[in-house]
Amino acid sequence: MARVRGLWDRYRSASPVTIALLALVLGLVVGAVIIIATTPEILNAWRGAFHSWGAPGHALKVTFDNVGAAYRSIVTGSIVDPPQFWHSVTTGRGWTASLTPLSETLTYAIPLVIASIAVGITFQTGLFNIGANGQAILGGVAGVAVATLVHLPMVLHLPLTLLAGIAGGVVGGAIPGLLKAYTGAHEVIVTLMFNYVASYFMLFCLLSTPLQLPNQTNAISRTMPGGTQLAPLFGTASGLRVNYGIVVALAVTVFAIWLLDRSSIGFEFRVTGANPHAARASGINARRTLVTSFLISGGLAGLAGVTWVAGTTHYIDQNFLQGSAGIGFTAITVSLLGRNRPIGIVWGSLLFAALEVGGSNMQANTGIPYDLATVIQSAIVIFVATPVLVKEIFRLRTLRAESIKVATAGWGS
């Protein structure tokens, strides 16, 4: 009993984790409302609901059936489909189909974790890196260039490819960092616009001689040789796309935990982010701190880009990280969801990846557009960003100071 009481108290004290979980619940509620309002079958059932006995019950059932089917297909499409899984366990066959949902979620989460940590590091320094997508593109281009144009044994070639990705991102991070440090240019504007520069630079490369696939007029690169690819974790024969990029993502997470929680430079990042005046008075070199933060962030964003190519497509075309595939933009919201902390970001990435992957499955199964997943993602972030609202809805007690602390420092500084 005391244990239940303890859990209840923890729930009511509104920790950041509680807020995030409740935001997920509210996001799903918002999604359900949209499903109800846009599915003709449900609306028709409710239209007839008050004409005869039993009809309201029928309408409720139709509603639950439809919303349930949609959410069920998100879960079965992104984590596991229990009947299929049971079939594999009992017959020993169909493992590829059973594990594909989880494999896809992890595959998508790999670059998202890395890119979100990249963004989170600048947020912790009080800076906005809206250009992670452009930096990831540069990383992907640089990685593909080194992979396809240099010939080396694999032990050297793969690390060099990943390093090239980091280097490409570092260039992308250095531009806004140096511009802000030495001219005061606002990093939001510079990074935001830089995304376009990166996209068109990529297009230029894809249409130019060394990188473009020979005898092609389309914007498409050569394919990375096998020795530079991040191989599937369970072998090519498994049919599962989850790859050794997962090792890269874990390494980046460990690095970020060290950087933010244990390193001196990370301490200086956080002091600068929380109070730039005190940082300066404490002898922290503001210019160096912001440039370093941007270099690390850019480098990680570039690594996210190259990890995605090397782990999945092995070539890039003009759609690389464009539109809804722009993980560098999703990373901004994931970072906010994870409160800019590495472990929070890992959970946030898994959730967003699952919604992304499950959303496609939902569209295939129920006809509800994939975009609903994006709506749910956005709603979750809005609720996470307004903990006071979540607290009111769920009647939580006082917010802990850390829960209502705005996730990032101001724009003006």
Partner: protein, 503 residues
């Protein structure tokens, strides 16, 4: 307007900022609220202006109880407030600032500047508040900006004006002008509630003085009360501040500035050729009305502001225009004037704040990795020896009281290897117990043979703590005197005139 406060009580957590305060302001009266920093004056004014809600008690205007849920209510009831920090838009003109929020308009929602200007002129004429409606506020000196705030309040037809420490930022001449304005306002029947902790001006201008201490009304007295009586009521003991210290044994100069010229953000030479030497084993107290260049002088010494010409020497080394990091490492301790802005990170833990400017120094870090155990051990030791009241060293600094936050900063600065200590307003806003504590620590630093420079606008503190008192006025040192010099003579130096005896 007759204003009456009955039994106002306001609590912040365990702290009772106002404890059953009763106060009556009669029409046409200048009523002064006198008390030390942290006595609860500003809280009371915020309650009165609707910015805070009292936990208990009521506010009566002309005998009628009123509820002031926000400052808009207060303005409608005829209460105007001039904040210590002005609430003006710097890039707007005087006229635009005055009408802000209550803009007169012509058809199609066009602003009626002609009427705004005319309103300002009529208010100016009526009360002798001359100011050009068309200049931008940022181009005006502080005294005139304050005047704009007063016009703004009067423009909303205020019958009771609250002036929150209005002279803290003014030159003596500007302060005199303000007193004259206050008189002309009360002559027309308006009432003024005047907040201050400066005894002289309070006695000079008030009709009635109410003294509060630690959130309670200690007494209401006429302005004929002597300064000593008022001081005793304010601090709760006969002699306001006694610092228990032996005679200084000064040795060689450690912290020196020579012909220093420093410009402020507007490009004015606010430190204009200052030379001053602080010797090992002595406390030099820098006195002066706020805003005479003390802040910029300290910023220049600590590397936070560019030195135009002249030099700063620390332990014989030239540290002019070096980075704050180099100056800290050269052994300068700094207790900043605005501790929450420059001295601490409120959202971080007590332990982290205790190593805020030494995060890379052994044993707190090795090869770029922090040693969290060493940081924690250090925090446990400091919290113990400096008697910081906190639930844990991991608690965020924001959970501590102002006095304990200051103790954390003092502990951090005094536990580093020091050559010299610069402390700006080290006891501002602290309770009496913390003040004594900070003073004892500063004297201890001196007795260990370090050079100490104290900057304070509290004359009592300057006289009690300093072994020598340097007085600053308009960017220059107008005199360096012995602390036994009379307060009147130091006061004269603070206004730029030379007392007869200081030859």
């Amino acid at each position: 307007m007759r204003l009456e406060l009955r039994g106002i009580t306001k609590k912040f957590g365990s702290l009772t900022a106002n404890d059953r305060i009763d106060l009556v302001v009669e029409p046409g009266q200048i009523h002064c609220l006198l008390g030390e920093n942290g006595a609860g004056k500003s809280t009371l004014m915020n309650v009165l202006f609707g910015l805070l809600q009292a936990d208990e008690g009521e506010i009566l205007i002309d005998g009628e109880p009123v509820r002031l849920a926000n400052s808009g209510d207060a303005v409608r009831r005829g209460i105007g407030m001039v904040h210590q920090h002005f609430m003006l838009v710097p890039v707007f003109s005087v006229a635009e600032n005055v009408v802000l929020g209550f803009e007169p308009t012509r058809s199609l929602d066009r602003l009626d500047y002609a009427r705004a200007r005319e309103d300002i002129r009529s208010v100016s004429r009526e009360f002798g508040l001359e100011v050009d409606p068309d200049v931008t506020v940022e181009s005006l000196p502080i005294g005139l900006q304050q005047r704009v705030e007063i016009i703004k309040a009067l423009g909303h037809d205020a019958q009771l004006l609250i002036l929150d420490e209005p002279t803290a930022v003014l030159t003596p001449q500007e302060a005199d002008a303000l007193m004259a304005i206050m008189r002309s306002l009360t002559a027309t029947g308006k009432s003024i509630l005047f907040i201050s902790h400066k005894l002289k001006e309070v006695r000079h201008v008030s009709d009635v003085i109410t003294v509060i201490r630690a959130g309670r009304v200690i007494g209401t007295v006429p302005p004929t009360a002597s300064e000593n009586e008022l001081a005793a009521m304010m601090v709760g003991r006969e002699v306001s501040l006694v610092v228990d210290k032996t005679a200084a044994a000064p040795r060689e100069p450690v912290l020196e500035v020579r012909d220093l010229v420093v410009r402020d953000d507007r490009g004015l030479a606010v430190v204009d050729g200052v030379s001053l030497a602080v010797r090992a084993g002595e406390i030099v107290a820098l006195a002066g009305v706020q805003g005479n260049g003390q802040t910029e002088l300290v910023e220049a010494i600590t590397g936070l502001r560019h030195v135009e010409s002249g030099s700063v020497l620390l332990g014989g080394r030239d540290v002019t225009n070096r980075s704050p990091r180099e100056i800290l490492d050269a052994g300068l301790g700094h207790i900043p004037e605005d501790r929450q802005r420059d001295g601490a990170v409120l959202s971080m833990s007590v332990a982290d704040n205790l190593v805020l400017n030494t995060p890379r120094r052994a044993p707190f870090a090795r090869h770029g990795t922090r040693n969290l155990r060493a940081v924690r051990d250090n925090a446990e030791t400091q919290v113990e020896s400096f008697d910081v009241r906190t639930s844990s060293v991991d608690a965020p600094l924001s959970s501590l009281s102002g006095g304990n936050q200051q103790k954390v900063i003092v502990a951090r600065e005094l536990s580093r290897p020091l050559e010299a200590l610069v402390a700006s307003q080290p006891t501002r806003g602290l309770d009496v117990g913390s003040i004594e504590y900070v003073h004892r620590e500063i004297v201890r630093v001196r007795d260990e043979g370090h050079a100490v420079l104290i900057v304070s606008s509290e004359l009592d503190e300057v006289m009690a703590l300093g072994d020598r008192v340097a007085v600053m006025f308009q960017g220059r040192i107008t005199g360096v005197v012995d602390p036994s010099t009379s307060r009147e003579d130091v006061g004269l130096l603070m206004t730029g005139s030379t007392p007869a005896e200081s030859r």
